[in-house]
């Protein structure tokens, strides 16, 4: 099992679970990252953080610590 923070640039995966119940996790889910959602890592900022991810047809930026809460299934894609 891997996490979104571990995906390499250009890789796609499906969300398995968003861990945590706090504001950050809720926000991630509100932005459309719920189990089953497909996403692609588009890039990473010059200083190595945050990540740029494409999800549901738009671009989202999130920090590595936030991405680490998202379990993904990379095999499906």
């Amino acid at each position: 099992m891997s996490r979104l923070s571990e995906l390499r640039i250009g890789k796609s995966a499906a969300v398995k679970e968003v861990e945590g119940l706090d504001e950050i996790s809720i926000r991630l889910m509100e932005m459309g990252l719920i189990p089953g959602t497909q996403l692609t890592v588009v890039g990473v900022a010059p200083l190595g953080d945050p990540l740029e991810v494409e999800v549901r047809g738009y671009r989202l930026s999130l920090r590595r610590t936030e991405a680490a809460r998202i379990q993904v299934d990379a095999s499906e894609c």
């Binding site: 200083l47 953080d49 936030e66």
Partner: protein, 748 residues
Amino acid sequence: MSIASPTQTLTIALVGNPNTGKSTLFNGLSGLRQRVGNYPGVTVEKKIGRYEYQGQSFTLIDLPGTYSLAPRSPDEMIAVDVLLGRRDDVHSPQAVLCIVDASNLERHLYLVSQVLELGLPVVIALNMVDVARERGIAVNAELLAERLRVPVVVVQANRQVGLTALKDAIAKAAVAAAPPLVSPFPEAFQQEVEQLGAVLRRDHAKADAAHDWPRYLVERLLLDTSGYLASTQLAGHHRDATALVAAARERLKTAGCPVPGVEPVSRYRWVGEVLSGVVTRPRDRKRTLSDAIDAVLTHRIAGAVVFVVLMAFMFRCVFWIAEPASQLIDALNALLAMWVTAFVPEGQLRSLLIDGVIAGVGGVLVFLPQIFLLFLFIGVLEDCGYMSRAAYLMDKLMSRVGLSGKSFIPLLSSFACAIPGIMAARVIENRRDRLVTILVAPLMTCSARLPVYVLLVSAFIPPLTFLNGWVHLRDLTMLSMYLLGIVAAVTVAFVLKSTILRGPTPPFVMELPSYKLPSPGTVLWRMLENGREFVYRAGTLILAVSIIVWALAYYPRHEGDLDPALVAAQASQAERVEELQASGDQEALAAAEATLQATDNLIAGAHLQNSYLGRAGKFIEPAVKPLGWDWRIGCAAIASFPAREVVIATLGVIYNLGSDVDEGSTPLRDTLAAATWEGTERKVFNVPVALSVMVFFALCAQCSSTLAIMKRETNSWRWPLFTFVYMTTLAYLGALATYQIGIRLLGG
């Protein structure tokens, strides 16, 4: 249902995600007829517009852009309160206008699904259809309307397309009944909402709780795990409602719909059902121009390079273009002063107009070109979608201080002027981050500090060079002042984030909107709006403070206090000038005029010394002596609290040079260098003193405009007051340390 009488206005609330074109639509619908204010106690802007359609007047309430109507803070609660008609300061809306982005419907319908549960008629404005088309996304608006059971109007806000049809749909919806409620939640959840609602309402009927419990609020109470709603809404309930909520959540967990995850999962499932067959995307996602631009602008190397170049370009422009414009304003001020001199007789009034009003207000107007240019740049960056990329690029750096990338542009702008910087901090949604950014922005070296630095550096820092002339000591000194500002800002930000503004790290989960050509109309409008706001807010305060400081420096004016010999000399010299004017001996006339000017300046200096300001300076001398200052520097520092650049003119008067000096003028430099402690031969200024004055100016909150804007942006006097106190303390301690260490290292 009867049509409301035409005299009665219908209230419409406008909601939408950020970057949807909501402000563009708001401006398109209400044009110039809008008012901007604040909701009391929070920092949310209250934007109200008006328009007429077919003889009926409409009031449009623009609510802050949001991805979700799930309040977890007072700022976020405003939108929900307005929508549910729970506020006394705005009318309850008759309908909700919800703007969505056709190119990104999935995420936008999340908000729509919440809006549909409010129990109000809804109209959907389907915007950005051109962007969707460009990406090959087709949206069947009729089918969407059928599925949602509310009108969907296709618009293109930036071109004003579809607005009449939209107004028509709004007019019909506002007098219609709300559509039947469709809940995206599983049955078990809906039942819990029913039960909880029934209990709360029964409670409410008995207790004197302030508001009723609309269904949506009950649902939110059940879903809100942050505890915000429970702590603010359950106050008047005698029953242990908190326990009820906890029990309901426990039951839901066993039923397989755990809170809070049940909300996004249910809503996105609903969205998927609604959109199936409504949106058709090309099989292979088309690579758009926006994607191509993004690939460069967020590239690890190219993105960083472009960012640095862009920021450097912004600053160059601000200084290059603003410079001549400022000189023009300066010249106009001088002209105005001359005109006053010609028409107003010498005395209090003339002095008030010239030294108080024109000098004070004019001193700030000089910065207007710069401020407007910065507004313009920030507006363009925001409008084209680069602002969030800048935040993305700089986030890592800013997170070291506990802030996020969103604070970068506001703080960077503050290097030119803190005012646009503080106003740009509006993009930061998190209240604590936003406050910290606003509170440290004035520490950045703004351009009003430059004249002070230039004067003191050129007068007291020896022109030494190192490394074969490549490094100048004077440049190093200037650079250290900039660094001092940055280091102070970083330290203060860090301290604030770990003390009074401590809290959990806010999410940096942020949309990177697609790039758009900035629309000149929107950008110019915003620049003018911000500019006007600044002139209005700062102008009044500056005027007041300038007049106060002027009065302190003018009164009590007893001509009798002056040295009689000096007065006599002035009179005889004036006579001589008149005689020579008649005789026509130019050379002698010039000499006599110079003598008279010198005497006038001496008298002005003596007046200042006798004034309240002079006395205050003398009074605080014991306090500023440890900084290496004499009473005159103390005076100048006090006088420059309204606006720091005033210090140059005050130093000019106080050292008997008249107020027509600027930072480049040699006499001022020489006079400062020659000034001695009163009654002694000891020089006032030396390197440690000059440095201590510079450090003071680097750290002090000597800008009433900044404080006024801070009041407006935080909607309270508490924060500007706090800033004033902490910066003044910091400045004093900084200057003290600089002098005491400097004097030990360098000697007097």
